[in-house]
Amino acid sequence: MENLSAKELRDKIVAGQASSLDATKAVFERIRKFEPTIGAYISTFEEMALEVAADVDRRVAAGEPVGQLAGVPIAIKDNMCTTFGATTCASKILENFHAPYNATAVEKLLAADAVIIGKANLDEFAMGSSTENSGLKQTVNPWDTSRVPGGSSGGPAAAVSGRLCFAALGSDTGGSIRQPASFCGVVGLKPTYGRVSRYGLVAYGSSLDQIGPITQNVADTALMMNVIAGHDPADSTSIDETTAPVRDYLEKLDEPIEKLRIAIVPEFAAGADEQVQKALSEAIDLYMKLGAEITEIDMPHLDYAIAAYYIIATAEASSNLARYDGVHYGHRTENPADYVEVYSKSRAEAFGEEVKRRIMLGTYALSSGYYDAYYLKALKVRNLIRGNFTDAFEKCDCIMMPVAPTTAFKIGEKVDDPLQMYLSDIYTIAVNLAGVPGISIPCGFDEKNLPIGLQILAPTFAEDKLLRIARMFEKETGWHKKKPLLENE
């Protein structure tokens, strides 16, 4: 049962050939067995999940209509608000915070009869690339438990990879869905900015954040997108459907794109490890065999993406995280001398190192006298990067590049060198600055048997096409079917 994909399970449940209760129980069996090693979850909701699952089974049996994710056990990253359980953002400052509302994406999952089984670990407030910045727990990579799962959606990616759920929701501000998907050998999509409502996603970098699926295969991602995509009146930055209608992403998924034009950026990709480069070029070769035409392009401003990102994202973060002040909710220091100490001590006590670092960076970048030199300049760079993508997509249907320069690195390897850690996002960050959609799909393994991801980028709101391009590759390869063998398995 646990070897089914989300869509396969859904189809069987709806057809009465499988029970959601059995699937949910099986998942919790695995969680009991492997979670102590993997550490993917901050919280799980077994009782609630079993109730929902039983209800779905009952409704199927009664011939009542059920939703698109009927009975599928799903994990969500713990930076999305839920009325059940805590919403911690893996931060001590929100460790006991219970949200009074559900994020729109969560509401949509529930409305589609998904069985939400738990909230998965992340780098504190989604700031990081390894999930080592979690203030609450350590998550490891199911392919090699001495290695990181990537981040910041390390929990959801590890959960999907270790089959501790059937699919998951992550969030991606600079690569936080794609990079852990790549490290864990699963599929991860960052949709176009504005495609999925951010309402209820605890903000890190508001102009960059986007919720997206992390799944076992491309079809599951399409299914999840069918549920979560669309305009939300509660999110002014979500795109209305007259501008960009939501498609049925499953409908033509198996139809290849005729005369596919792929662009590659050789100079940029040359910065990746040899084995990553090799996997990329093998993937390109396969597409060529499928009839694709390859063009080499230059995207000169991508070199400045990391610099621009770490100004824009941290500036927004410094403001977004100002509300965690010990006054209204969350951690409050004991015996403050005055209200200023409520702020300074509560924050000093409960925020982790990386969060503090980014708040300080962002505060500095926005300070009077520095705004023009940093924030304003970063916005200009952002526009140039957007321009690079617009230009590129005039010549091609998609751009392919690595997801990350390396495969999963060792736990602790980069924690003392934040700059080195920041550089692991070099291939993913520009995508968020440009707002375009990007997907990571498994495209091979390095000699240490660690998964490698292929990143495909498409123009804004071309998720349907992007998924079909990804599916073309997946159909011809078996990489996505390889599962990590966990200890005692």
């Binding site: 608000c81 949200a99 309402y199 508001s206 006054v327």
Partner: protein, 487 residues
């Protein structure tokens, strides 16, 4: 002896609370005096993950006001975050407009005590959300009420064009009347709907040299009286201080003071203007506001003749006193009712008296607007005509007016029912006068004797006539007949 001249210079920041049904960025109701923290939701509480959604009505109200202030209205504006930490500000930033306000470079006209009119420049007008309220009721902790959080506030900043407390007050009063006229704010001072922050200093000429005193900002004034008095107080205080110390304006010596209502004095709050760094940056959770010509035209179509203009017109067109014209234009519904009645044919002065003397009193008693009294302007015009024609007396118009409000009947009907139609029939009145004269020979004697007694006796006789007719005699006609009979 040294020669000294000085002039006070005042610019004003005004916060006007807009009277939308819901808050600026969420659906919570705007309600004064509700149980603390009962008009809140995750959005205005600044909970993790929430996003603001702009209240379109608030934006339209703000643009309408900016248009009335003759501001330039840019077609593209945006929202910015203004960061500062304070317990009544749950997000620790306020959504505001920084470098692209929705209105700029306007002016407002204010009436001067001398009778003239002065133009005061408007630098900018922008929208922002209000903060909550800190309640300091206990000794060792404070509480926060967030009902007010997210209330739409229009901030208006004037040029430093005012030169007296009276002028500052006149501007505040004029703005109050204007926003009420436009229907964008209740502008109820008791409820804090208008808050003022004047910036004040003096231009002093002493021995042929010019000096400027350091600027003082007075925070959070919420009455016209406090506004006017604080400016006047500062005028004197700054003059004294200058003469005492000679300190003049320089970078960083702006101070902030508050107004102590009991002592009638300003008190120092912050010695030096703290180098506030609000770290403004564009609000990423809201899309910029792009006006279209159609939208702007639609807003513009809601403009009306502004109260001061209307007041001046009433004086010229209807020969009303400035005072009466001011009362009629204090409120848009009163002035519109007045104009409707005039259009229906009533004499302006007469209808003005009916409205200002009786109408407003009834409306106040019923705690409603002139419009909600349930009578038509045409009916009131008819009542005015009846007085004009001598069919009823001016004093009888009061019970008729009251009965109109109570019953909704027309004045003709009510005057009949209440027996208030005046007797103007000379023949009938003559018979009654004859009867009165016959019954009061002593009074006739007094009249003919002349002097003080004569006047008193005439009054007595007229009173007898009125009593005889149960007050229904037209006093003008009756006294004419009396005079004739008495020679």
């Amino acid at each position: 002896m040294s020669e000294l001249q000085y002039k006070v210079i005042v610019g004003l920041e005004i916060h006007v609370q807009l009277c939308t049904k819901s808050k600026m960025f969420c659906g919570c109701a705007l309600e004064f005096g509700a149980e603390p923290n009962s008009r809140v939701c995750p959005v205005c509480l600044g909970m993790p993950g929430v996003l603001p959604v702009m209240n379109k009505k608030a934006y339209e109200y703000a643009v309408l006001t900016a248009l009335a202030l003759d501001c330039r209205i840019p077609m593209f504006t945006k929202w910015d975050r203004k960061s500062y930490y304070y317990p009544d500000l749950p997000k620790n930033y306020q959504i505001s407009q920084y470098d692209l306000p929705l209105g700029a470079d306007g002016f407002v006209e204010i009436p001067l005590e001398s009778g003239g009119i002065k133009k005061i420049g408007i630098i900018r007008a922008h929208l922002e959300e209000d903060a909550g309220k800190n309640l300091h009721t206990a000794s060792n902790y404070s509480q926060v009420d967030l009902n007010r959080t997210g209330t739409p506030l229009l901030e208006i900043v004037t040029e430093p064009d005012m030169n007296s407390g009276a002028e500052v007050r006149a501007l505040a009063v004029e703005l109050q009347r204007m926003v009420r006229f436009l229907g964008v704010s209740e502008a109820d001072m008791q409820k804090g709907h208008m808050r003022f922050e004047p910036n004040i200093n003096l231009a002093i000429t002493k021995d042929g040299k010019e000096y400027r005193t350091p600027i003082v900002e007075i925070k959070n004034l919420n009455s016209f009286r406090a506004l006017e008095r604080s400016v006047s107080y500062e005028e004197q205080r700054q003059l004294d201080k200058f003469l005492d110390t000679g300190i003049v304006i320089e970078m960083g010596n702006k101070t902030t003071r508050g107004w102590d209502d009991e002592r009638e004095a300003t008190v120092l709050q912050r010695e030096k203007e703290e180098a506030h760094d609000y770290r403004y940056f564009p609000e990423p959770d809201l899309v910029p506001v792009e006006l279209t010509e159609e939208w702007l035209d639609d807003i513009r179509s809601r403009l009306c003749e502004l109260p001061l203009k209307r007041q001046v017109r009433y004086v010229h067109e209807y020969q009303l006193s400035d005072y009466d014209a001011g009362v009629l234009t204090a409120d848009r519904s009163i002035s519109e009712f007045f104009e409707e009645a005039v259009k229906a044919g009533a004499e302006p002065k007469r209808i003005c008296n009916l409205l200002t003397q009786t109408g407003l009193k009834i409306a106040k008693e019923k705690n409603c607007g002139i419009n909600d009294m349930g009578i038509k302007p045409e009916s009131l015009a008819r009542l005015a005509e009846m007085i004009e024609a001598g069919q009823i007396s001016a004093s009888s118009s009061v019970p008729v007016f009251e009965a109109m409000v109570q019953t909704g009947k027309e004045p003709d009907v009510l005057a009949q029912e209440l027996n208030l139609i005046q007797k103007s029939d000379a023949g009938e009145l003559e018979r009654i006068v004859d009867k009165v004269l016959a019954e009061n020979p002593q009074a006739i004697e007094d009249v003919t004797s002349g002097g003080k007694k004569s006047k008193k006796a005439k009054g007595f006789l007229l009173g007898q006539v009125m009593q005889e007719t149960k007050g229904q005699a037209n006093p003008k006609v009756a006294s004419e007949i009396l005079a004739k009979k008495l020679g």
